[in-house]
Amino acid sequence: MKNLRYLKDVATLKLDQSICIGCGRCVEVCPHQVFTVESKKALFNDFQACMECGACAKNCPVDAITVDAGVGCASGMINEWLRERKLPGGGGCC
């Protein structure tokens, strides 16, 4: 995935190193090699590659990772906005 990169500095991914136990699950589940583990602590290897799938947060046993994961398609998001504003047409799936 070196030839395809999305917008920079947008990901909501956060890692609290003070809680991290260095188990390496985040490295195992991330499809974009965002994490690496050094000296028993996870750290960002490629933060900009994060696609916010949420696999790392879901599998972190100590909840050291948070990310606003969710659907990333335009029509899904339009529906979401419509729903939030209680406008018609927002019921459809993405």
């Binding site: 995935m1 030839n3 999305y6 947008v10 195992e28 799938c53 659907v71 339009i78 939030e84 993405c94």
Partner: protein
């Protein structure tokens, strides 16, 4: 989404699975009803309504795809399935790529046997989208193992994980319902890496005693993974989005766009016909159709080679290229200035919109990124279309 050789990526998220709100809010729908109750927050942030309809995989019988015979286990009989796909299996996959019968391309959830597995054989987990099931069993030729199929309502692993239907609760309940504890003597499951957004490994271990190993992203890497002592190499956990993987998504996108092409195409044709002539009407329709297809098909195929990171920008540039082609090939020299300007505004805007919609199908775009480009893109696209419309009106009456 999914342990799959070919990646239908997030495409099912992009499907109009839900025909209307009633479908997702009706009694008996799954507890992923974030969409049905605006304002509620759920811990499992459901992307939309989850499964649209009540289509489920049903119950395992001797009619399951690839059925060979029943095997007796301490937990009852389990179907042994073939690792060879039939012509029908391939034909079915092909149809699904064109959105034909895709929402019911499904197998029953439960436990299956590949080869003659024993109590110590590995357990693979996958979704009940038939393409996922087929890709996994095909790769497992000559092996003895168990295949635990989760009820994901015919959605592939990754998309289902995004909706949490390929999730901890379903995994735990499927382990219990298949009595897996009595079928195998070990406590380990191999899950597709792309199932991780829905499954919490430590919660699963706590609730069932089964530890989760995330194996590979692609089913095609599974044989090597199993042969090298279940070691995931770095390439096995690296998602790709090559030209083939992008191109394979285009048919379904075109089919899903047909309805809007027909609606808006008809309106444009009639408007141009009433305003000018049938030749102009045809030209206007072709211009529109080309702009849509540029966004839906050309941008996905040429993605890495179109400049920019934003899909709206990529779409706009490709749309400008299409407008230029149209200008030179479609007799643009005879157009007046308002028509030319309107075309240059509207066509790239249309392509940009459809290109932006493709973010839902990629393997690398983030939700926050899409939000950001939509906040800028939607008003820009809307303004361009409005300006083009006004220009055409002015052109008509001057």
């Amino acid at each position: 989404m999914k342990i799959q050789k070919i990646i239908p990526v997030k495409q099912s998220l992009n499907i109009r699975q839900i025909k209307n709100t009633e479908d997702c809010c009706s009694a008996g729908s799954l507890p992923t009803t974030a969409c049905c109750t605006p304002g509620t927050t759920t811990t499992e942030k459901a992307p939309c309504c989850g499964p649209a309809t009540e289509i489920t995989g049903g119950v395992i019988s001797d009619k399951v795809p690839g059925f060979i015979k029943w095997l007796d286990t301490p937990a009852g009989r389990v179907p042994q399935i073939s690792t060879k796909l039939t012509v029908q299996d391939h034909f079915g996959a092909c149809k699904a790529r064109w959105a034909i019968g895709r929402m019911s391309y499904i197998v029953p959830p439960g436990l299956y046997a590949i080869g003659t597995p024993f109590a110590d054989s590995p357990v693979l987990v996958t979704a009940n989208y038939k393409m996922s099931y087929d890709l996994v069993r095909q790769e497992m030729a000559g092996r003895n193992l168990w295949l635990l199929v989760l009820e994901t309502f015919g959605v592939n692993v990754w998309c289902a994980a995004g909706k949490s239907s390929f999730g901890t609760d379903e995994l735990v309940s499927r382990i219990n319902r298949t009595d897996l504890h009595n079928v195998v003597n070990h406590r380990q499951l191999i899950l597709p890496i792309l199932g991780a957004p829905g499954v919490s490994a430590h919660q699963t271990a706590k609730r069932t005693g089964f530890t989760v190993k995330y194996g590979t992203i692609r089913a095609s890497d599974l044989p090597e993974y199993l042969d090298n002592g279940m070691h995931t190499t770095s390439s096995m956990r690296e998602i790709t989005f090559n030209t083939y993987e992008r191109a394979i998504l285009v048919p379904v996108e075109i089919v899903l766009t047909m309805k809007s092409i027909a609606t808006f195409g008809f309106i444009i044709f009639i408007a141009a016909y009433l305003a000018n002539s049938s030749t102009d009407a045809l030209m206007a329709f072709l211009a529109y159709l080309g702009a849509v297809l540029t966004g839906v098909a050309v941008v996905p195929c040429l993605l890495p080679w179109i400049p920019g990171r934003s899909f709206a920008i990529k779409g706009m540039l490709a749309g400008l290229a299409w407008s230029s082609c149209l200008f030179y090939l479609g007799g643009g020299s005879s157009w007046n200035i308002t028509t030319t300007t309107a075309a240059l505004l509207a066509l790239p805007a249309i392509s940009a919109f459809y290109a932006m919609n493709f973010t839902g199908c990629t393997t690398y775009t983030s939700r926050s990124g899409v939000k950001k480009e939509m906040r800028l893109g939607i008003p820009a696209i809307g303004s361009a279309l409005a300006a083009a419309f006004i220009l055409l009106i002015i052109g008509r009456f001057t």
